[in-house]
Amino acid sequence: MGVYIPVGPQHPIHPEAILLKLKVEGEQVVDADVDSSFVHRGIEKALEHKTWLQGLYLVERVCGICNVAHSTCYTLNVENLLGVEAPTRAQYLRLVVEELARIHSHMLWLGLLAHLIGFQSLFMLVFRDREKVLDLMEELTGNRITTAYNVVGGVRRDIDPALEHRVRSTLEELRGRVKRYRKLIEEDPSVRARTVNVGILERSEAEELHAVGPVARASGIKYDVRADDPYLVHDEVPFNVVTLETCDAWGRAMVRVEEVLESIDMIMYSLDHIPSGPIRKRVPPVFKVPPGEGIARVEAPRGELFHYAKSDGSERPYRYRMRTPTLANLAALVYMLRRGDRAVYVADVPVIFGSIDPCICCTARVFVLDERGSRVLNLEDLGRSRGR
C-alpha cells in the first residue's frame, strides 16, 4: 500500500534539480529514494582535457557556494604533487577567505531554512546581513561569489590596512546580528515547532552512515577536518569544534550559527597574527606535474570535501576525483526520511531535506549503462574512450 509522490526535479523547495521519490501512507513517509543525476555535467571527465591551471577555474565552478573550499582543496592537492608550499601569509589569507565563505554559506542556509519554514521576515533579515559578507569578499578578492582567489602557489591579492580595518568593523557588526539570530533560533516558538525533533539522526546512525559536517556535529560526533587533519594554518589558529547532542534539524541550525561566530573569531585572530611577506610563489601557467597520486581534504561549509588527483607526468591530470560533502550526507538524508521507528510527516520533508544543506550541483552523479542498458560501465570501460 502507499502512494508514490515525486518531489522534483522542479520543486518550490529547492531551485536545484533533484528528485525525491517518496512513498507515503496518509501523511506519513514510509519509503524514500533520491535521484541526483539531473545536473550531472561530467566535470571530472572535462578536467582530463584541461591543463592543471585551467582545471582550477573549472573546479571552482563545481559548486558556486563552496567554490573557495573546492579551489583550496585543488590548489593544496596540486601543490603537494608539485612539492611547492604557499608562503605563510598566503595561507593566512586563504584561511580568512575560506572562513568568510563559510559565514556566507551558513547565512545563506539560515535564510533558506527560514524560507522553508515560511518565516519570510527572517529570510529577508539574514539575506540583508549576508550582503555585508559578500561586500567584504568583493573588496578582498574582486568578485562576490566565484572568487578565483587561490592560485597554485599562493593567493592573488593582498590585504591592506584600510581593508583590514573594514573587515574587522563589519565582522564586529555582524557578530551582534548573528547573536540575535542565535537567540531567535533558541527561543522563537515557530522555529522550534518546525525543527525540534524533526529529522532525527542518532549518533550511532550518523557514524554508520558516515555523515559529515554540521549534520555529524549536530549528532554529537566531534569531527572537523580543520581540527583533525589541519591543512592551512588551522593548527595555529584556535577554534572550537561545535557539537550538539540534539540530533535534529534544530541542532543543525544551532551548530551552523555557532560556527559562524567561531569563524568570525578565527578571522579576527588571523588578522591579528598574519605575518608579513610574499603572498605568492610564481608557478608558470603551463607546468608538468610529476607522476603520482595525491589527495587533499578540506572542511567545506557542508562538511568534509575530498579531492584525489592522479598525474601521469603530463601537463594535464590523468584522473581527478571529488567526493563532496552532500554526497556523504545523502545517505543520512534518505535514512532520516524512511526510518521506521519514528513517524516522518510529509510536511516535514522540506525541513529535513534542507537541514543537510543540500548542494546538488556538487553531488550530481550518474551511472553509464551499456547500449542494452544491462550493465553499469566502470572506469576501465570508460577509459577505452579516453583517447590518450
Partner: protein
C-alpha cells in the same frame, strides 16, 4: 498598436512573475538571483515575484548550461507555462555553455533548446545584471515583441 493592446502590454510588463530553475548551473547564479530578491536589491519593486510553479509564471529564469538529463524536464516545464512566456538565460553557461564547454553532457546554451528573450552574461551574474535584464525584458514586452532567439519551444 491598438490602445487596448498597449494597455495589456503595459500591464504585463509591470507584473512579471518568475520561475527560477537550475538546469546544470553551479548554484552561484541561483544565489545571486535570490540575492536580487533580497532587501538590498529588491526586484519586487518592479513587480517581480518568485513563484514555485511554472503554471503561475510569466518568465523562466534559467541558470546553467542545459544538461542532457534535464532537457526533457525543462521542455515540460516550459510547456506548462501559460502564454505569453519569456525566457531569460542567466549566466555565461546559460548563454553559451561557458566553462562547461567541453563537458560531454551539456548543450551549449539555453537557446539550443528554447527561444530566449534576454541574455545575462557573467560568471556568476551580479544582482544588478539581473535587474538590468528585467528592465530590458520590460521594454521588450511593452513593445509587444514575443519571439525569442533560438530553437525549440
Amino acid at each position: 498598436m491598438k490602445l487596448l493592446t498597449r494597455l495589456v502590454n503595459w500591464g504585463r510588463s509591470r507584473s512579471l512573475w518568475v520561475l527560477l530553475i537550475n538546469t546544470g548551473a553551479c548554484n552561484a547564479c541561483d544565489i545571486e538571483v535570490i540575492a536580487a530578491l533580497s532587501p538590498r536589491y529588491d526586484v519586487e519593486r518592479f513587480g517581480v515575484l518568485l513563484k514555485g510553479s511554472p503554471r503561475h509564471a510569466d518568465v523562466l529564469l534559467i541558470t546553467g548550461a542545459v544538461t542532457r538529463q534535464v532537457r526533457d524536464r525543462l521542455l515540460r516545464i516550459y510547456r506548462q507555462m501559460p502564454e505569453p512566456k519569456y525566457v531569460v538565460a542567466v549566466g555565461t553557461c546559460a548563454v553559451s555553455g561557458g566553462v562547461y564547454d567541453r563537458c560531454y553532457n551539456v548543450y551549449k546554451g539555453v537557446d539550443e533548446v528554447l527561444p530566449v528573450h534576454a541574455y545575462v552574461p557573467g560568471c556568476p551574474v551580479k544582482p544588478e545584471a539581473v535587474i538590468e535584464a528585467i528592465s530590458v525584458l520590460r521594454r521588450v514586452i511593452e513593445r509587444g515583441e514575443f519571439n525569442g532567439r533560438g530553437k525549440g519551444g
